[in-house]
Amino acid sequence: MVLKQKQIYCHPDLCIGCRICANACALAREGEANPRLGRINIRQNLFERYEYQELCRHCDDPPCLDACMVGCIEKDAYTGIVTNDDSCVGCWMCVMVCPYGSMRRDLIKQMAVKCDQCKDREGPVCVDVCPTGALVFKEREDTPEDPFFTGPAVT
């Protein structure tokens, strides 16, 4: 049985680029104000006029998982959440392959950090602090309620 997966979505139109999400994430996870360690990041360019939210999609087939050479990234079969652990060696392969730019580097510990949807907390902190409601945490609409194949196909 697969749980209906939840995901952090973003409305880019509502994002004002205040980066409080990144800082709150770092504060919740690392205990210090340091947006670079936020698992979410707002890439803003005031001259090219965009705010892009680098946040983990917890892909069905995560490229970071495939690329990780020590196997420290895994996808929970039940919740669908992709996590890494501290056996990371800092090779940054996952950073390179992530199509959404959502793997972050902790340069002091030499380890990749990634979003785990604050699974030990009641809802992701970035969603809680977002002042405009640009970030929302809701069920994925594209996961099927009942898996189409229930077992090995028999003809």
Binding site: C18, I20, N23, A24, L27, A28, A33
Partner: protein, 623 residues
């Protein structure tokens, strides 16, 4: 085990000798001045040689973050840029939002104290507790936007840049420093001081982070305060249309500075709904819950209410698109909007009155001429022809004759930033007259005056019933005294004034909130009384520097002659003017509240206290 990061790390950068020295501010001093504007003033007093020429290497340039800058406090993206002003000759101080302040702290520095002068263009690069003085010859001459874009191209997109534009390089006395497209440390000509030190930019990449005393409680506090602030009506409106919402109100009252304050009513074309047709999106600075910054469709950001009036009504440009165009140009050149608009309007009136002629100025100056104004703005920034003359700012009074000062809307040598004609609201008038950096509304504007609040309510806010009639001279000194103190504290905190109690709503963050936020972020305990006395100490420190540098006393706490002599011509405010008698009475009361003598000087006891604090030695730090 790593040692705990001190509360305030200062880097003393000597550009002449190319040395960097780190010091820690002792806790004793932090308890007296907190940070931001307060500590900047303390260090200005400590390092500035009396009577130094503002554009010489002797001037001291300070970039200082507030004690809450970069923490999870709402709207905590601000820092102060402080020096001796080349425009007014007294303190120069400007508060700027954006992301550089937090990034400086994340890079390991709370304050930069820049001394001397580099022999060629340089920029400062801050990363991981280290400062490099790097060559900036590739960036010299570029516009603000080009400078920042080139830095991001050369050094990576995750840096933050504050820079000067051509105006600062050419030592225009009212040049500003800029972060991003529009955020500016605008007033008092700080950009010219950067230019005089050959400092093009400060670039920061913050990888160190900032320790927070109580992270979980801080997150909860942020959420609580955000929800509290978002209930405020005025914050909601500011988030939707920004400051232009005030234009309509002032215009209805008949208090828009129009044609160099010769008139007070202007066209509806600059109303918020018209401006909003040119807006793509609203943006926020670091940690912002208000988001009042417009991204406009003409390629820039803004306009603010100030810009609308000073580059619109004041010089007679009624077309919304053209006004926004002027706004974008001024921003990119790195000029202070308030001063630029005031000087252009003044020059036009000088032309009307015959002090300037077509031969001396090389053109015909008249109100409403967009092309002329546009050209003149470029000429000022690049110091060409008449622009070269105007770039000297309020010092031109000496050139054109003392009587021309009567129609320059400036106090203590600094043009008025508030687009509101203060002849109607007496509290506003006292505020700009006594403000420590010249005619400026961000020091003490008691905005609530406009709301006709009942005495029961004003007692709650100000601790004393205040006459609800905005045109009365009664008890207005109390309002100004209260406002300037809390604004000084909010500047020390590094928080935006838009969420400060009393600036535009009586229910925003007050001393109690600041106390709690400082406790959660740093562990320092302040009482409400402590914070109040810190605000007073900062204002007294500024007063002392002003007295030392230019002998600022009662004679300088005055208003432009036009506000005393000419009654307002139209609408509801028609006939209002400031009476000398009423004004002097307000001033007497105000000095008494401040604990100054009748001439507006500090008492000797206070001067001794400030001198004693100045002489306290600092710990050096290994860099």
């Amino acid at each position: 085990m790593e040692e705990k990061r001190p509360l305030c790390v200062n880097a003393i950068v000597n550009l002449t000798e190319r040395t960097v020295e780190l010091t820690e501010t002792p806790e004793e001093i932090i308890r007296q001045f907190v940070g931001g504007r307060g500590l900047n003033m303390y260090y200005l007093y400590k390092y500035l040689k009396p009577q130094a020429d503002p554009l010489s290497p002797d001037n001291v340039l300070i970039l200082g973050t507030g004690i809450l800058t970069g923490t999870l406090s709402p709207n905590s993206g601000r820092h102060n840029v402080t020096c001796k002003s080349p425009e007014s000759g007294i303190i120069g101080d400007a508060n700027i939002g954006g992301f550089l302040g937090p990034e400086m702290r994340f890079a390991g520095f709370d304050r930069l104290i820049i001394l001397g002068k580099a022999d060629k263009p340089v920029y400062l690069y801050l990363e991981n507790g280290k400062i490099e003085i790097r060559d900036a010859s590739d960036y010299w001459g570029l516009l603000c936007s080009e400078t920042e874009a080139k830095f991001k191209y050369d050094l990576g997109s995750d840096i933050e840049v504050q820079s000067i534009g051509p105006a600062g390089e050419n030592l225009v006395r009212f040049a500003c420093t800029r972060y991003g497209v529009k955020n500016a440390a605008g007033r008092t000509g700080t950009g010219a001081v950067w230019g005089s030190k050959n400092l093009k930019a400060v670039v920061a990449r913050g990888t160190c982070g900032l320790p927070i005393e109580n992270p979980q409680a801080m997150i909860e506090k942020y959420i609580e305060l955000r929800d509290y602030l978002k209930e405020s009506k005025v914050i909601n409106v500011l988030g939707r249309v920004g400051t232009p919402l005030l234009y309509d109100v002032s215009n209805y009252l008949g208090a828009i500075r129009t044609h160099n304050s010769q008139q007070t009513v202007f066209f509806d074309t600059l109303n918020a709904e018209e401006v909003h047709k040119h807006v793509d999106k609203m943006l926020g600075c670091y940690g912002c819950v208000v988001h009042c910054r417009h991204r406009n469709t003409l390629g820039g950001e803004g306009p603010e209410y100030t810009t609308e009036v000073l580059l619109g009504a004041n010089i007679g440009v009624a077309d919304t698109g053209k006004m926004i165009d002027l706004n974008n140009i001024v921003n990119d050149l790195g000029l202070d909007v308030s001063s630029t608009g005031t000087y252009i309007a003044w020059a036009i009136e000088l032309f009307e009155k015959g002090y300037l002629t077509e031969e001396t100025s090389g053109r015909i100056l008249r109100f409403g001429d967009y092309n002329m104004s546009r050209q003149l703005i470029y000429d000022i920034a690049y110091r060409r022809g008449l622009g070269d003359t105007l770039a000297e700012g309020s010092r031109l009074v000496e050139k054109f004759g003392p009587e021309t000062a009567d129609f320059l809307i400036a106090i203590k040598g600094l043009p008025q930033s508030d687009p509101h004609d203060v002849r109607y609201l007496k509290g506003f008038a006292l505020g700009i007259a006594t403000s420590s950096r010249g005619a400026d509304h961000l020091r003490s504007r008691p905005t609530l005056e406009i709301l006709d609040l009942p005495p029961s309510f004003t007692t709650q806010i100000y601790g004393e019933a205040v006459d609800p009639n905005p045109t009365s001279y009664q008890s207005k000194s109390r309002v100004v005294y209260f406002s300037e103190t809390i604004y000084a504290v909010v500047d020390c905190m590094g928080i935006c004034k838009f969420i400060c109690h009393g600036f535009n709503s009586p229910r925003n963050l007050n001393y109690d909130h600041f106390r709690e936020l400082t406790r959660l972020a740093t562990g320092l305990e302040f009482s409400k009384e402590d914070l109040h006395s810190i605000g007073r100490r900062v204002i007294d420190q500024e007063r002392l520097i002003n007295y030392q540098e230019k002998g600022i006393t009662r004679k300088d706490d005055t208003l432009p002659a036009r506000y005393f002599n000419d009654p307002m011509p139209s609408a509801r405010a028609k006939g209002s003017y400031i009476s000398h008698e009423g004004f002097n009475k307000m001033l007497d009361e105000y000095y008494e509240l401040c604990g100054w003598d009748k001439d507006g000087k500090l008492l000797p006891g206070r001067i001794d206290e400030l001198n004693r604090l100045r002489d306290i030695k600092e710990h050096k730090r290994e860099g």
